[in-house]
């Protein structure tokens, strides 16, 4: 069987923010159905990378290709039908209902004027069910917990029915139960062939979920590979300034990690 199609690809990508370069020479790819975690210390350029991959920040050098076509050549609506971005910086109005919020994810499919059709209602219902928040559909955003709000944003992204899903700290506000729910949802989505890239702060969580891990440090890719190998690398220790150790525990899938301060000197 040949490897799944490359959906998103960056080559020699550089991105500037407020006239200073925050990403240098980034090369990466995301395949259909893949789970790719992006990790790195604060200010490593993770959010910038996600925004550039989503086409919201221009490339100062290099390029991003979505399904083989340069991102800049995509019409906005077609791009938003193919690639969805979910962040923890959402700003929906408190009085907006969960159902109406998720339905706005159908905007790229219907544009400003076409009325929503049964297909849109079905996509919204599927997104609500998949994120486990169907029972909240009539609730207003202002009455939700931070975790429920976060799942609502994810449901909006799923309602777009994209082929690529980019997430920036999707688990930021979630308790452990909601975190497991979130990553289970992402795995279900991956099984339908969607490529999922997620910036994840919690290294252990990232290693447990991802098939591949990208380590960003000072705006450059410092390591790219299997999560265990990336976390065991010297680059990871350097990036975070800590000693990372993986421990195999019988009965637990994947390694467990411990973190210790790097001895001075």
């Amino acid at each position: 069987m040949s490897a799944p199609e490359v959906l998103l690809q960056a080559g020699a990508l550089a991105v500037d923010r407020a006239r200073s370069r925050v990403l240098h020479d980034v090369a990466m790819e995301l395949r259909a159905g893949e789970a790719l975690a992006v990790v790195g210390p604060n200010a490593a350029g993770k959010s910038t990378l996600v925004q550039a991959l989503a086409g919201l920040l221009p490339a100062a050098a290099g390029e991003v290709r979505l399904a083989g076509r340069p991102l800049g050549e995509w019409p906005r609506d077609a791009r938003a039908r193919t690639l969805a971005l979910v962040t923890s910086r959402e700003e929906g109005l408190d009085s907006l209902s969960v159902g109406d919020r998720v339905a706005l994810g159908r905007y790229p499919h219907r544009g400003p004027f076409q009325p929503y059709v049964a297909e849109d209602d079905a996509a919204v219902a599927r997104a609500l069910a998949r994120t486990g928040i169907a029972h909240l559909a009539a609730r207003r955003l202002g009455t939700l917990s931070a975790g429920e709000r976060q799942l609502t944003t994810l449901a909006r992204g799923l309602a777009q029915e994209p082929r690529v899903l980019l997430l920036d700290e999707p688990a930021a506000h979630l308790d452990v139960g909601h975190q497991l729910q979130l990553f289970r949802t992402l795995d279900e989505v991956r099984r339908t062939g969607v490529g999922v890239l997620a910036v994840i702060h919690d290294l252990a969580r990232a290693a447990a979920w991802a098939e591949r891990m990208l380590l960003l440090h000072e705006g450059r890719i410092a390591a790219d590979g299997a999560p265990d190998a990336v976390l065991a690398s010297a680059a990871a220790g350097r990036a975070f300034g800590v000693k990372i150790r993986g421990h195999a525990v019988p009965g637990v899938k994947g390694a467990l990690y411990s973190f210790e301060p790097e001895p001075p000197g």
Binding site: D77, R81, R89, G92, L96
Partner: protein, 341 residues
């Protein structure tokens, strides 16, 4: 609040507005009989109606004084409420108002210039035209300055709006001081906001801008909702954020400018109507815009009626009345404001 109850809001507002319009048309320094008013209106529309109980004087009062004034109140109220709805969504702030873009202060400066140079008393309709031109100049200045200083984001627009408003306010003060005393009162009356002596020309001008603008804004309801999710999410959904915002704020400025030009400053209507109705019909613009239009119209028709009813020796300015109601409402809303609407 269930959807079914939310659906009742617009029909209820329609009925209330119709009753308020009728009441406001009949009441005044010369009271007109309801039956006569209804009969005359029906007859005017070519329907069977009997206006005989009005008499010739009553009919003249109805058609040249009362009716244009009441209709203009509805248009101005509806227009300001639509503007408030749009600005509250664009700025994602449930307490936003047309004042943010410099419309009011620009219009005031235009009006005082027209009066200062004597145009207002010699050229027909010069004052509203000058006020409108002033409002548009202020809005364009806000955009231009915000754009060239690289601050065309929401925050930049907001801060530039405050600065331009302050500048226009200062220029208005200077012009007022430099204006001959007998003319100052004209400006003061206009600044206070009111509908006294407005005729069909005002109604036509107001209707052209308000109804066209409101219809176009309703057409853009979905992009407005997407924009209210915030810049990043809206852009990720494929919305051209800058262009959409420019279009929406441009239309809102035209409507607000027209309202201010024909009625002077009528504060707090644009804030109150959408803010009060959002909990009932939800924030989706498709539902909130029509409800807010009707709510704002109702509010100003009643406020104008109140201004006339409370007046004895002099007429209470309409703008003062809406401020007397609106300022406490605003403070209460500030206290209760649980977040971002």
């Amino acid at each position: 609040m269930t959807r079914d109850r939310a659906r009742l809001v617009v029909p209820l507002l329609l009925v209330a507005l119709a009753l308020a319009l009728l009441l406001a048309t009949a009441k005044g320094s010369v009271p007109l009989p309801f039956r006569g008013v209804v009969g005359a209106l029906l007859a005017k529309l070519g329907l069977p109606g009997d206006a005989s109980s009005l008499g010739a004087t009553g009919e003249t009062i109805l058609f040249t004084v009362r009716l244009p004034r009441v209709l203009l109140a509805a248009l101005v109220g509806g227009g300001l409420a639509v503007v408030g709805t749009v600005l509250q969504a664009v700025f994602r702030n449930p307490l936003a108002d047309a004042g943010l873009l410099g419309v009011g202060s620009g219009a005031a400066l235009g009006a005082v210039l027209a009066v200062h140079f004597g145009l207002a008393s010699t050229v027909f309709f010069a004052l509203p035209l000058a006020a409108f031109a002033g409002a548009m100049t202020a809005v364009l200045a806000v955009y231009f300055i915000a754009g060239t200083t690289g601050r065309s984001g929401l925050h930049g627009l907001l801060l530039t709006g405050i600065a331009v408003s302050a500048l226009a306010g200062a220029m208005t003060s200077v012009m007022l001081v430099a204006t001959e005393e007998f003319r100052v009162k004209t400006v003061l009356f206009w600044l206070a906001g009111g509908l006294e002596g407005r005729g069909w020309t005002h109604v036509q001008a107001g209707a052209a801008f308000v109804l066209t603008g409101a219809a176009l804004l309703l057409l853009l309801a979905r992009p407005l909702d997407v924009l209210s999710l915030g810049e990043e999410e809206a852009a990720s959904l494929g919305l051209p954020v800058r262009a959409t915002r420019l279009g929406l704020l441009g239309l809102a400025s035209l409507v607000a400018g027209a309202c201010t030009a024909v009625a002077g400053a009528v504060p707090f209507v644009g804030l109150m109507a959408p803010h009060a109705l959002r909990p009932l019909v939800g924030p989706l613009s498709r539902r909130l815009l029509p409800a807010a239009f009707l709510g704002g119209a109702l509010l100003v028709v009643l406020a104008d009626l109140g201004a006339r009813a409370l007046s004895t020796r002099f007429e209470l300015p309409l703008g003062a009345l809406t401020a007397f109601v609106g300022a406490p409402y605003f403070l209460a809303a500030l206290r209760a404001n649980e977040g971002r609407g």
